[in-house]
């Protein structure tokens, strides 16, 4: 029934791929304590999209170009390509201000074409509005991100857990840091089209947080994180089809509930075990 609708098919195709990428990237973000970086990049994506719109270009072009560039730029400001939180905060406060500037520029120079809500749709996404070709492109890029991540997963894991030992063993820690930031930037730009610039963080942080509470073994946790993210998108889309709530809200509500569920499970487990001192 639901899947007979073409717009739902596109939403499922694009949403699944983005969730997969977000789940995998998110796990490393949580492990490396770089969630804040992803947060900043998702806001950069907002500015990038609006800047491109204001210049009359395709929003996706600005999205990818600016997000990945800023990701790499923030890497150069930090030690071993791990930006400091003050640097991140400072840069992205300003980037958001620029976003507002472009929003005003866009709505005032190109008004009358019914795009007053451009800012809102960039911020909160429009998964049900994906066209067939766009959904396909989104899926391909997301799968590419997943493939790259799987290839670098082992050295990246090593570098994330113990940077110094990894560096001593000849793992290119700095290069991996930059590569990872570029992947995060790409994921943020991708997900902006699906759940919106403001809400990506939920898909990145909640499934990964839940997974790392359930197991400490990295590979199962990685898979679990991706699975929870994909499940959130599926359940969320279904819920928003059945009940008239915005899809972005439904997706994030499911992801958040999963996270809260794992917190409860963990508390119960800890309660039944002998209380450690």
């Amino acid at each position: 029934m639901m899947l007979a609708q073409p717009f739902m098919q596109h939403a499922f195709l694009g949403g699944t791929a983005v969730a997969l990428a977000a789940g995998l990237v998110g796990y490393f973000l949580v492990l490396r304590a770089q969630v804040f970086t992803a947060d900043a990049l998702s806001h950069v994506a907002f500015t990038g999209a609006l800047a491109a719109l204001a210049a009359g270009l395709d929003a996706r072009l600005g999205l990818f170009a600016i997000t990945v560039l800023v990701a790499l730029g923030m890497g150069t400001l930090g030690r071993q390509a791990r930006p400091d939180d003050v640097v991140i905060g400072g840069v992205f406060a300003w980037v958001l201000g620029l976003g507002v500037f472009f929003l005003r520029l866009y709505t005032s120079t190109r008004s009358g074409t019914g795009n007053g809500s451009a800012g809102v749709s960039v911020l909160f996404g429009s998964i049900l509005g994906l066209s067939a070709s766009r959904a396909l492109t989104t899926a391909l890029i997301a799968l590419l991100v997943c493939a790259v991540l799987v290839v670098i997963a082992r050295p990246l894991l090593f570098a994330s857990v113990d940077e110094n030992v990894a560096a001593a063993r000849g793992v290119p820690v700095r290069l991996l840091g930059f590569g990872f930031l570029a992947l995060v930037g790409t994921t943020a730009a991708e997900a902006t089209q699906v759940v919106g610039a403001l809400l990506i963080l939920g898909l990145l942080a909640a499934p990964a947080g839940a997974a790392s509470r359930l197991t400490t073994r990295p590979l199962p946790a990685l898979g679990l994180s991706a699975a929870i993210a994909v499940a959130s998108v599926w359940l969320g889309l279904t819920a928003s089809y059945l009940v008239a709530v915005p899809p972005s809200f439904a997706i994030l509500a499911v992801a958040t509930l999963c996270y809260l569920g794992t917190v409860a499970v963990q508390r119960l487990r800890r309660g039944s075990a002998v209380q450690p001192a």
């Binding site: 003050v86 992205f92 201000g97 929003l103 790392s212 992801a255």
Partner: protein, 290 residues
């Protein structure tokens, strides 16, 4: 709001202050700047920027929900920001699993809060322009009553901050040693998150939920580059924040671009200039702690 700019600055200011709305905006802006600069200084020192940003964003669903239910927007901001501060304080597992666990909690709270705001907006139809305003601020719609509320809350927050200031500084710089000296660092953590929530709620009403950060992070970060001595650094932070807000309001009044853009640009300009001049990106060291 756009006036006609002449190079006679005094006349310009007199012209601008002829409007009640602008006078209220300056009053509110000053109160918020002082509060954000002081609370933000501790936030930057404690490296809780991410938490501060999240608390600020939580104001958005608060305000949107309040509009939907027909309640006061100010009430919505404070309720949601303080509640989120408590949630973050309760959910983090007391530093046992370190920073990475905390950031997952904060990220989840933030995304869910924004999604809830989105839901409220869609429940309350025909609210699109209001959304942009809640996210990016509206300096000019501030009433005299709101200024009174802002001032009242600011006084309470600053009083609490004055009381816990010294132990908080100790606990922020070196958690373990402070704990060994009997400083109740967990209680301080929670109280500070609540103060941060209140400050973020205050600032949200001026700069909008997305741009609070410019006042909470940039002036304190700049001040900490200038001097490492807490007293002076706090003073620089306050002075800078007030200056940023005044310049932004003045320029914003005479230009067609949004005030939020000017606030962030002025603040970031000061930060970038200072870090180039001093050649550093961070000056107060913090001992690694859980």
């Amino acid at each position: 709001m756009t006036g006609t700019f002449t190079w006679n600055l005094l006349a310009d200011i007199r012209d601008m202050w002829a409007y009640d709305a602008m006078v209220n905006a300056f009053r509110a802006g000053t109160i918020v700047a002082v509060l954000a600069a002081l609370v933000g200084w501790f936030m930057v020192l404690r490296r809780q920027s991410f938490a501060g940003h999240t608390l600020a964003l939580v104001g958005f669903p608060g305000a949107a929900g309040a509009v939907w239910l027909g309640l006061s927007v100010t009430l919505g901001y404070f309720t949601f920001c303080l509640a989120a501060a408590l949630v973050i304080a309760v959910l983090r597992t007391g530093g046992r699993r370190g920073y990475s666990e905390e950031s997952a909690v904060i990220g989840t709270v933030q995304a869910f809060a924004l999604a809830t705001g989105m839901l409220f907006v869609s429940l309350y139809k025909g609210f699109l322009n209001g959304t942009t305003e809640l996210l990016f601020g509206a300096f000019t719609g501030i009433t005299a009553d709101q200024v009174t509320v802002l001032a009242g809350v600011a006084v309470v927050v600053l009083a609490v901050l004055a009381v816990i200031g010294r132990p908080l500084l100790f606990a922020s710089v070196d958690t373990d040693v402070a704990r060994a000296h009997g400083v109740p660092s967990r209680v301080l953590d929670t109280v500070f998150l609540l103060l941060l929530g209140a400050a973020a709620a205050e600032a949200s009403q001026i700069t909008g939920a997305l741009l609070v950060f410019a006042l909470l992070v940039l002036p304190p970060a700049t001040a900490q580059l200038v001097t490492a001595r807490p007293g002076r650094s706090l003073a620089v932070s306050v002075g800078l924040a007030v200056l940023v807000v005044w310049v932004a309001l003045f320029v914003g009044y005479y230009s067609p671009y949004p005030i939020g853009f000017w606030v962030t640009t002025t603040a970031f300009g000061a930060y970038a200039l200072t870090s180039v001049l001093t050649g550093r990106t961070r000056s107060i060291p913090r001992r690694a702690a859980a």
